[in-house]
């Protein structure tokens, strides 16, 4: 825990659970190598809910897939990762499997494809319970039913023998959450958990996530492209753009005093049901392709406030206020 305290600016926050330093990820090799993450630094505190927002391809999912060693052999991952102070980068698969699920669990966007369609959901849950908790037989089954109850599956005993296709999308996502809770993790990574679900079901699942997080004192990273979902669930937000962090702030700060032009653009281009109907102010242009980033700030070609230095250098993430860091030359001292 000793080396860990340095990068943190504020003192009152709970201790850091997971810290990622200088995370770079690239795919392919030789001339076709494409770098998708460019030295990302990220801290998750004990029990907090951190939102990660950005458009497709900005690297928000890859961050966690890379940290957990789930990207496979064709990806080159570099960086220093710590879990409660202990390094876990460069661990072999066997050692990582003691972290995955038990300490850091992940749920994905499409529950139907994350569950095995030919096994009953109970069987899949029991597998997770016996893997993480070492329970067998009736004890494992009882624990699995308890997990189903915890995620509010009605008639948990009966649903135990159902196949994933017999349940709705919302139910399947509840099963995924139950499986993620099987190892009683310290951190739950929810990767777009409600994107594939309908509006009323989305509200149910978000509520469930908040509830289990509070009950278990678990930290959560909610990855979403939808700022309004993040606004509702998270206390801190990280805005990502083209493989870098653009802005990190407490949620309230971010929505009141967004400093990065990209964040400002994101906020004004989302139609909002609560404010008067007005024309959306769209961000012109499009996200640059990974591997074809401009030399300087990757948002520069779309930015209304572009300056000379934006074309030349990449801005670093600097604090502008307590709990608020921005990577932009406009706010740099």
């Amino acid at each position: 825990m000793t080396e860990l305290a340095t990068p943190q600016s504020h003192s009152s926050a709970p201790p850091i659970l997971v810290s990622l330093r200088g995370l770079t990820v690239s795919f392919g090799s030789g001339p076709s190598q494409v770098q998708v993450l460019h030295g990302l630094d990220l801290d998750v505190h004990v029990g907090e809910s951190l939102g990660m927002v950005g458009e497709s391809g900005c690297g928000k999912s890859v961050t966690w897939l890379a940290a957990l060693g789930l990207l496979g052999a064709h990806a080159q991952v570099q960086g220093e990762f710590r879990l409660a102070g202990d390094r876990f980068d460069g661990l072999n698969d066997r050692a990582l499997s003691l972290i995955r699920g038990r300490r850091i669990a992940m749920i994905f966007q499409d529950p139907a494809s994350a569950l095995n369609p030919v096994h009953r959901i109970g069987q899949q849950l029991v597998e997770a319970v016996s893997l993480h908790k070492g329970l067998r037989g009736q004890a494992a089954r009882a624990q699995a039913v308890r997990l189903l109850d915890q995620v509010h599956i009605p008639n948990a005993g009966q649903r135990f023998d159902a196949y994933p296709h017999e349940l709705s999308g919302g139910m399947n996502q509840r099963i995924m959450i139950a499986m993620a809770l099987a190892g009683e993790p310290d951190l739950l990574i929810a990767d777009e958990p409600t994107t594939a679900l309908d509006a009323t079901i989305q509200a149910q699942i978000l509520d469930l996530l908040t509830e289990v997080r509070r009950d278990q004192g678990m930290a959560m990273v909610l990855i979403s492209h939808d700022l309004s979902v993040i606004a509702q669930e998270c206390s801190r937000v990280m805005v990502m753009y083209a493989g870098r962090a653009a802005e990190i702030a407490a949620t309230d700060n971010l929505f009141r005093t967004a400093a990065h032009p990209y964040t400002q653009g994101l906020l004004s281009c989302v139609p909002d049901v609560a404010s008067p109907q007005k024309r959306l102010s769209a961000i012109p242009g499009q996200v640059p392709e990974a591997g074809r980033l401009p030399q300087g700030c990757s948002f520069e070609p779309r930015c209304a406030h572009s300056m000379v230095q934006c074309k030349e250098r990449v801005p670093t993430l600097l604090p502008v206020a307590p709990d608020h860091q921005v990577a932009c030359f406009l706010t740099a001292p």
Binding site: A203, S228, L266, V273, A282, Q286
Partner: protein, 336 residues
């Protein structure tokens, strides 16, 4: 203002087979069940609802792509038939569709300008020089600059592809555009560009939109009227400001409050519905929303509420708002 599109008690029932043990059972899936609405020329009607509520089937029925089981669609006063004859083709010239996934809607082996001018070829309008000119002019006005015209769909970004699909739909100068989730596959910053473009096009060309989406924020942004669908029925229809500030139907209330708002954050009060929508295969008598409705009464289990006007702009299908429900007057409810 003229009425461009009239949809009258439109239904589409599919005969399906559902597994029952080792056998299969015949069943009727009521995808759309007695839907009525009007669309004025140059206006936008937003159709919202969850997946499987019949939004896309309604769109296909409106365009005559599937035959209706009951009811009819009048376009400019003429019934839209599903038979592929000369009348239908002439009608289709004025009604076009924009799909959700632009890459799926475009031909991967044809450059985009050829695809944009293809409708002109099909309808035999103009010579090849004027066709190309029209296509170029339209694409330029929709934000597709010259270097992109001869590219293939995979060489364009998602937003550009959707602009190509939109150009192809608009080249015949239709008076109705049916947009089925036109921005759902796009990133938020691109979404805003396409929404703005759709609004500009409407202002410039006076085209009416039937705008289908599951995203209430987007629907509110573009629509003049919003119809909320649930299991093949329209449960409420109202102007967006009224619907979103004060939804009346219990389902609309839940739907509206389930939309997370950027500015209300964690203080937002929500009505969370329990459970999932029931299967459209096994609908009970009475209101389709009864199992999830917090206010369900005995009448809701027996009598299907009809879409009735509360005021000229606002319609609702709910017994809570009916002064005098007349069970005998409701068609199709003769069973005991």
């Amino acid at each position: 203002m003229t009425t461009l599109l009239q949809v009258q008690t439109l239904s589409k029932h599919f005969q399906v087979r559902v597994p029952e043990g080792w056998r299969q059972r015949k069943a009727t899936l009521r995808a759309v069940d007695g839907v009525s609405f009007d669309l004025q020329a140059g206006q936008t009607l937003g159709l919202v609802g969850e997946s499987g509520c019949g939004k896309t089937t309604t769109a296909r029925l409106v365009l005559g792509l599937t035959a209706a089981t009951q009811g009819q669609v009048l376009f400019n006063g003429q019934p839209v038939e599903s038979k592929r004859d000369a009348t239908w083709r002439a009608q289709r010239q004025n009604m076009q569709m924009v799909y959700q996934n632009p890459l799926g809607a475009l031909d991967r082996r044809l450059n985009v300008i050829s695809q944009v001018l293809e409708p002109l070829l099909i309808h035999g309008l103009g010579d090849s020089l004027s066709q190309t000119e029209q296509a170029q002019e339209l694409m330029a006005s929709l934000g597709l600059p010259r270097p992109l015209w001869y590219r293939f769909p995979h060489e364009l970004s998602g937003g550009q592809r959707q602009r190509v699909v939109l150009s192809r739909a608009l080249i015949l100068k239709p008076s109705l555009l049916v947009c089925d989730e036109p921005v759902s596959a796009l990133d938020v910053s691109i979404q805003a560009q396409v929404i703005n473009l759709l609004q500009d096009v409407q202002e410039r060309l006076g085209v009416a939109y039937l705008f289908i989406s599951h995203d209430l924020k987007v629907v509110r942004q573009v629509s003049d009227q919003v119809a909320v669908m649930y299991l093949g029925h329209i449960v409420e229809q109202a102007p967006p400001n009224q619907l979103f500030s004060e939804p009346f139907h219990p389902y609309s209330q839940a739907l509206v409050s389930s939309v997370p708002s950027l500015w209300q954050g964690q203080n937002q009060k929500r009505h969370i519905l329990q459970g999932d929508p029931p299967s459209p295969l096994s609908l009970q008598s009475g209101c389709v929303f009864q199992n999830r409705c917090p206010h369900a009464q005995s009448i809701c289990r027996q009598v299907k509420p009809r879409l009735t006007p509360l005021n000229p702009e606002r319609h609702i299908a709910c017994h809570l708002f009916a002064e005098n429900p007349r069970p005998s007057a409701v068609p199709g409810e003769a069973r005991s």
